[in-house]
């Protein structure tokens, strides 16, 4: 592999990672936008999403690689089931842990979120045990350049890369449609901009909060499923790192800013892939957190501008 091939390969790698970060980052930013809470448990919902999707595959009797019509039916079905499960989980977390604190200080739900994060991690630890869990190779992995185009290249682009992009883009489009075109999407944006006035429009604010957790949880579930299919492994502690990186992505894009979170996710994806390659995987977390700190210190409104920079 020459230097160019390495760069291209790592960039493709970064794109797929970035797609996952972007999906998680959206959940952070949406929840922050609406209740100004940094939901530290969100990364763990992503982690549980991976395990939950695995359970759905198992329940549906899928143990080996899907092909043909099974791929076209079962995979979308598991996407939907997983997203619904994590959406419900996220809503339940809000109801049980955050909603009772709605009128308290900002610090109380923040600390609660950290507690919920520990609880979810320990739940996964109890459920799956401490060792990494193998995720079956349910999606056919084809080396596209070599097998479809007959190009002998050192660069690998597989059908899994295509899946990541092919699943993320429709989700982003659907999300964008929801928030810009639908009645409840508009209610959500209105609530994020001015809660009291949104109420005066007859919007049930608690219902928009519920919806926000629902959508954020669904996206985290999709990210977990994608992660499992792509890397074929899941760990109880993986939500912590993914969560912090996605949170950095959300801050980078301007917390509360949805396109910002998506772009921030991609950026962190590229950055972490390049850092793993050119510096050292051991340094990647340090680099990501340095960025987080630098942004918070010098440009707390994010690179694209946040909706309420003063409150980060």
């Amino acid at each position: 592999m020459n230097a160019w091939e390495v760069l291209v390969q790592q960039t493709i790698n970064g794109l797929t990672r970035g797609a996952v970060f972007a999906l998680i980052a959206l959940g952070y930013t949406m929840v922050y936008g609406i209740i100004e809470l940094i939901n530290f448990a969100h990364g763990d919902v992503f982690m549980l999403g991976l395990f939950i999707s695995l359970s759905w595959f198992t329940l549906l009797g899928v143990t080996k690689t899907l092909t043909g019509w099974q791929l076209l039916t079962i995979l979308p079905l598991v996407f939907i089931l997983t997203m619904l499960t994590t959406a419900a989980l996220n809503v339940a977390i809000d109801r049980v842990a955050y909603r009772p604190l709605r009128r308290s200080t900002r610090l109380a739900p923040l600390i609660t979120a950290i507690g919920v994060s520990f609880m979810l991690e320990n739940l996964a630890l109890l459920w799956k045990g401490p060792a990494p869990i193998a995720y079956p190779d349910v999606f056919p992995s084809v080396d596209i350049l070599r097998e479809w185009f007959g190009v002998d290249s050192a660069i690998f682009v597989t059908t899994k890369d295509v899946l990541v992009v092919g699943a993320t883009i429709p989700l982003m489009i659907a999300l964008n449609y929801f928030v810009t075109r639908t009645r409840w999407g508009k209610a959500m944006r209105a609530t994020a901009q001015d809660r009291e006035t949104a109420q005066a429009m007859g919007i049930n604010v608690e219902r928009t909060i519920l919806l926000t957790f629902f959508v954020g949880g669904a996206l985290a579930g999709a990210a977990g499923l994608i992660q499992g299919i792509y890397y074929n492994i899941g760990m109880w502690w993986m939500g912590y790192q993914a969560g912090l990186r996605a949170f950095t992505a959300a801050v980078l894009g301007g917390i509360g800013n949805m396109p910002g979170a998506a772009l921030g996710g991609l950026f962190i994806g590229f950055l972490s892939a390049w850092s793993d390659q050119y510096i050292s995987a051991r340094w990647t977390n340090a680099i990501v957190f340095s960025i987080l700190i630098l942004v918070l210190v010098f440009r707390p409104q994010g690179l694209l501008g946040a909706r309420s920079a003063d409150k980060v």
Partner: protein, 235 residues
Amino acid sequence: MLELADVHTYYGNIRALRGVSLTVAQGEIVTLIGSNGAGKTTTLKTILGTTRPRRGTVTFSGQRLDTLATDRIVRLGIAQSPEGRRIFARMTVLENLELGAFARKDRAAIGSDLERVFALFPRLAQRSTQQGGTLSGGEQQMLAIGRALMARPTLLLLDEPSMGLAPILVETIFRIIQDINRQGTTILLVEQNARMALGVAHRGYVMQTGRIVLQAAAAELLRSDLVRKTYLGEK
């Protein structure tokens, strides 16, 4: 239609309303005047449930409002053009108007109400795809009123609708307020511009430091010494 009985509202320890009682009958324009900090905005907030009374009751068409959630109160047919306009800055003019109609069940009639609002404020029609935050102050005021009208309320609460408008527009706004009222909407109007407000209102209340100090027919208030000295600036 609307009745406040001995309403006391606090912000922490600050007593903003100290026993306010007032009524608005169906079909009326009632104005609430008073100087800065008298408690006019607080009265409207208490009606809409964005602040809650510590004592006293608010009833609307026989229903208690002071224990009802704001979105439910709005669904009963009360809409507000709030103080400071409170436009959704990062949403378009059209989206702001649509949100005004959020709670309505008769979705089919929303289109014709949009036409009506655009007919009242042609400026809003020209700017319909512009972000709310980029409108001028006066345009935002029109949008705030238009947004409240989109709810097709039976009771409309207006908090200083003439604020920040050029004199000619103030005339227009008050004419529009009268038109809306003639079309069947009951109006509770909070105003600094006492002369204009009393010009269109049927009845009025004068508020000072959280209390109603005077109430009478609008024409009578215009003749009263208190109003003439304090709010019309006459000798």
